[in-house]
Symmetry: C14
Subunit: 95 residues, 14 copies
């Protein structure tokens, strides 16, 4: 028999931790890229178009790692297969 | 039978930790981008428009990771499916 | 039956930790932005208006992450749904 | 029944920790801003007024995060709703 | 007899931790590469094509380590052989 | 019934920790500001008055965060409401 | 008699941790190499071929350490000799 | 009844820790200020008087945070109200 | 009598940890060497041969420390003398 | 009744820790000041007297924080009021 | 009577940890030396021979510390006197 | 009755830790001072006498903090008042 | 009676840890010295002899600290007086 | 009665830890001093004698802190007064 309390508590804690830790890298990374883009624009205003386009592609790529974390956190909260199994087991056992 | 106390305690702790840790990266990142934008404006006043526009897009992108954390924290406090299930189970068991 | 002591203790600890950790990032970030703004003013006194306006927008954006943390801390102390449920349960049980 | 000892001990520890950790960021941040302001004054003595005004606005903004922490610490020591509830419960139970 | 609760809790925690930690390196790394590319474009606009191509190859290579982590996290949540064995064992034992 | 030993021990530990940790930030911050002021005086001896005045205002502002910590430590040692309640409870119970 | 639960839990945790920690070094390393290559191309466009070739050899070498980690993680999940022995022992003992 | 051993042990540990941690910040801070003062004297020997005076005021301000820690440590060792209460309680109870 | 579970669990955890930690140093080290080689080629294209040869010797030397870790991890998984002894002991004791 | 063992063990540990941690800050701080003084002498040999005098005052100030730690460590070993009370209590109780 | 399980588990864990931690220093150190050698070759191509010879002597010296770690790890796995004694004791006691 | 084992174990551990941690600061500090002295000699060979004299005074001052740690470690090993009391108590009690 | 298992386990763990941690400092230190020697040779090829001689003396001195660690590790594995005493005691007590 | 196992285990662990941690500072410090000496020789070959002499005095001073740690480690292994007392006590008590 499973203990849904532990499964639930771990899911909650992990979901929060995942998005919290997972937001540090992308936030700092996007900041670095964006601040360099601003410096590049100030240095070469004529290349603003190329710089902006490269910036957006890079931001999207970096944001993707934050999205991965957000997706995992959402799955853990709203579509958690372990929790579903624990609840089912509890219901089956009259829990 | 679930133990709502543990579920609740973990939810509280995780909600606070998520927004606390999750605010470090964006705050530092936005600061880096904004300070570079200020430096760029001082260096190329004529490009202030392009710089400001790129700055706002970047700030929005970085802020998004803080928003993710805030959303998860709010879900954990006010729309927590694990807590709802624990309360329901407690009510059903006469708990 | 819930244990209000644990819920309360965790709420207190989390509220303090949230605002404590959550004040580090914004404080350092605002300092970075503000100090760069001062440097920019010293370098381009004629752009002081543009610089100050961009500074205030940026400070507001960075302060917002501190506000998130403060809001969560206040909710945990004064409008904590888990604590309310624990107190209610305790009252109902004659606790 | 609640255990006022744990509530009290956690309140004390959290209050101290909150203001202790919460003073690091603002102290370093204000120092950074102020030292940059001094450098800016040395570089552009003629802009001392604009620099000083911007400095004070920034210091106030940074100090605000320290104030948040101080407020939370004071609430935890002198107006702690969890402690009040614990004492009341103890009195009611003849504790 | 196996304890599915522990297996499940560890799977949840590990999945979140893997993608959270695993997103830090790639996010910072891609940011470094992209910001250097922006600087290079600003310095040598004529080589924008070569720089962009090299940038995309490098980003793909760095992103691959994030993909490894995401794959492992997904396997742990949705195709976990240890969990399947634990559930089977539980079913066989009348669990 | 409360356990005054735990309340007392936590108060002692927190008071020391608060002032110990709380002295790091202001000490380093004041040092940074003061050393920059010295550099500024060496660079612009004619502005020594403005620099010194700004320095003292900034030092006072930074010192304030150390004062917050000292006040909390003193309250915890000499005017601790939790300790008073614990002693009273002990006396009332014949402790 | 072996305890398959512990073996399984440790395998899961280690697999995730291995690839998570193991992705930090290569991601940052590849980023450093690639960003230097971009700087080198911007500095010596005529040597782009030599630089790109050296870059790819280096990236392959660095990626190899990430591959080691991924291989170990996959072995731990899908071809774990300890788990096989634990399952066998469990089956032999009537589970 | 109170346990004087725990109160005493915590007082000893906290006193040592407070002055130990509390000496790091001021020592490094005074060193930074003093070394900058030396550099300033070497750069502007004619301003040695102003520099030395500002240095001494700053050192006194920084040393004050070390003094706070030393005072708290001394209070915890020689004028500890919690210890006095514990000893009194012990004597009253026939110890 | 030995406990094969503990031996197995520790072997798994150590194997993963060894290659994970052991990949950080070589990955960063190879990246540093390679990025310097790229800078050297850009600076002295005529010495590309000497530089490349020295680079490959150095990369091989640095990679050797990663190989040590990989070898130890593989030994711990597939040729672990402690595990063999534990299994033998278990078989001899009737498992 | 007090437990002299715990009091003694904590006193020993704290005394060592206090002077160990407390020697890091002053050692590094004095080194920084002294090395800057050497650089200043090399830069302005004519100001060697002023520099040396300021150096010695600063070293004395920094050393004072190490002295605080040493004094506390000595008090804890040779004039520890808690230990004296514990020994006395033990003797009184027939120990 | 000895417990071979603990001896074995500690041996495994220590062997892995030793080579894992022990590979960080040499890997980074060799990288630093090699990258400086590459820079030196690029700066003084005529001294390539002296530089390369000094590089190889230094690499050998640095590698020696990695060898120490590898030797200790191998001794702990394949020629562990503590394990031999534990096995012997187990055999003598009828295991 | 005292437990000499704990007192002894803590004394051993503290003695080692004190001198180990206490050697880091002075070693790095002396290195910094000495390396700056070497740079100063190379820059101003004519001031070698003044520089060397100042260096030796500074080294002696920094070494003093290491001496404090060594003295405490030796006291804890060879003239430990707590250990003497514990041994005496043990002898008195018939040990 | 002594417990040889604990003595053995601690000896193994300490031996590995000693050489692992003890190899970090020397490896990085030798790398720093050697890389500076390479830079010096590139800057002053005519002083290669003096530089190389000083380099070797320094490397030997730095390596000595690694040797200390290796000697202690070897003593702990192969000539451990505590282990010998534990084995003897075990034999005397009939094991 | 004393427990020689604990005394022995702590002695072993402390001896290793002391020399391991204690070798980091001196190794890095000597490296810094030596590398600066090499740079000084390259900059001022005519002062090689003064530089080398100052270098050796400094190295001896820094090495002294490593010697302190080595001496303490050797005392703990081969001339440990606590261990001698524990063995004696054990013999007296019939072990």
């Amino acid at each position: 028999m499973m203990d849904p309390t532990l499964i639930g508590a771990v899911s909650i804690f992990t979901a929060g931790l995942t998005i919290a830790i997972g937001s540090i890298g992308p936030a700092l990374g996007e900041a670095r890229t964006a601040s360099q883009a601003l410096a590049a624009i100030a240095q070469q205003p004529d290349e603003a178009n190329t710089i902006t386009r490269t910036l957006f592609v890079s931001l999207a790529m970096i944001e993707s790692t934050a999205i991965y974390c957000f997706v995992v956190a959402m799955i853990l909260i709203f579509a958690n297969p372990f929790w579903d199994a624990a609840i089912q087991a509890g219901t089956a056992a009259g829990g």
